[in-house]
Assembly symmetry: C2
């Protein structure tokens, strides 16, 4: 998606250890107009599949999922929680996600009330790197007996392997921008 790639070129900053900072528009300050364009792009790519629920993970996926829902007939958005809170029931689906960045696992949780076998699910997230977070959400979709239609990602770090693994499994993965290579010297190289 050209608008997103342009924005990454303009404002993204490459840091060591494979970090691409896009906090000026994607995950600290948020550009809602861009998110709506992204939502529209997801709607085109996943049209005709009867998607009736959008799943994401707190925190950075929430705003993109919110903007995307309006292009799927305002279907409900559910975000998997990373932190136990009073808002969460005891009756939950949960899965463990390994974070390479933090070198430890964390739990993601979805109340059983908000996901079931009638749901046709689109997973939305801001980044795809090693794919562990998406695999965790897919595990929860599975536990609920819901149908996974596809996965929509804003920025895929193509060099980190998560996308390749999901595509090999036959998952309909649509990333709006795929970074194949990046470094402080060379800048950011997108997949065509």
């Amino acid at each position: 998606m050209d608008a997103l790639k342009e924005r990454i070129r303009k404002e993204g900053r490459v840091k060591g250890q494979g970090i691409l900072k896009v906090d000026s528009f994607l995950n600290h300050q948020l550009d809602v107009a861009l998110f709506e364009e992204m939502g529209e792009a997801f709607a085109k790519r996943f049209a005709g599949h009867g998607i009736n629920k959008i799943l994401t993970i707190e925190t950075s996926g929430i705003a993109i999922a919110t903007s995307t829902a309006r292009y799927f007939d305002y279907c409900p958005v559910v975000f998997a929680k990373k932190y136990v809170s009073l808002n969460l029931d005891n009756d939950i689906y949960s899965s463990d996600v390994y974070s390479y960045t933090k070198q430890q696992s964390y739990k993601i949780m979805v109340s059983k009330k908000y996901l079931n076998e009638n749901d046709r699910v689109l997973i939305i997230d801001d980044f795809l790197a090693n794919g562990k977070a998406v695999e965790g959400i897919m595990d929860i979709v599975n536990q609920a007996g819901a149908t996974l239609i596809g996965v929509g990602i804003a920025i895929e770090k193509g060099f980190q392997g998560g996308g390749a693994i999901l595509r090999e499994q036959g998952i309909a993965l649509e990333s709006l921008a795929i970074v194949d290579e990046m470094s402080e010297e060379k800048g950011i190289i997108f997949r065509d």
Copy 2:
């Protein structure tokens, strides 16, 4: 706001210790159509003040702030972070917020890049109880030399005092639903 009050009446569940669970539409599963109605209601209440930035706190405020931004000319949304992450710079404003529920303080953080003296700020959050989170955000607005225009809240727990304290300070506080009393026996009583 009638649509929100109706929804709280229909789906809200009162738990002990002043907890109102609205996770079916506000803070776990999200009803984006309702959030856009709420955004429109905030826009009416805060029209004509040149608001050019919306501030909120992760996690539950993000989706409401996102839906609200479209009614303020798609101004940027910035969410204060509760958890240190690689996306955050070292150069931050921060404030300590005391949580009565958890009986401990946590830090909220905003990068200095995304808040400055030219910003005319609307603070958005899902709940107002004791007001400590909003006071923390106001402290950050102050540190940045930005102008606080007002505070827009979805659900104010009127019996917990935060709203009274803010209004006494002359803060333009607009809550779309104010709960004055609630119990498992009596149900939920709204302020007129």
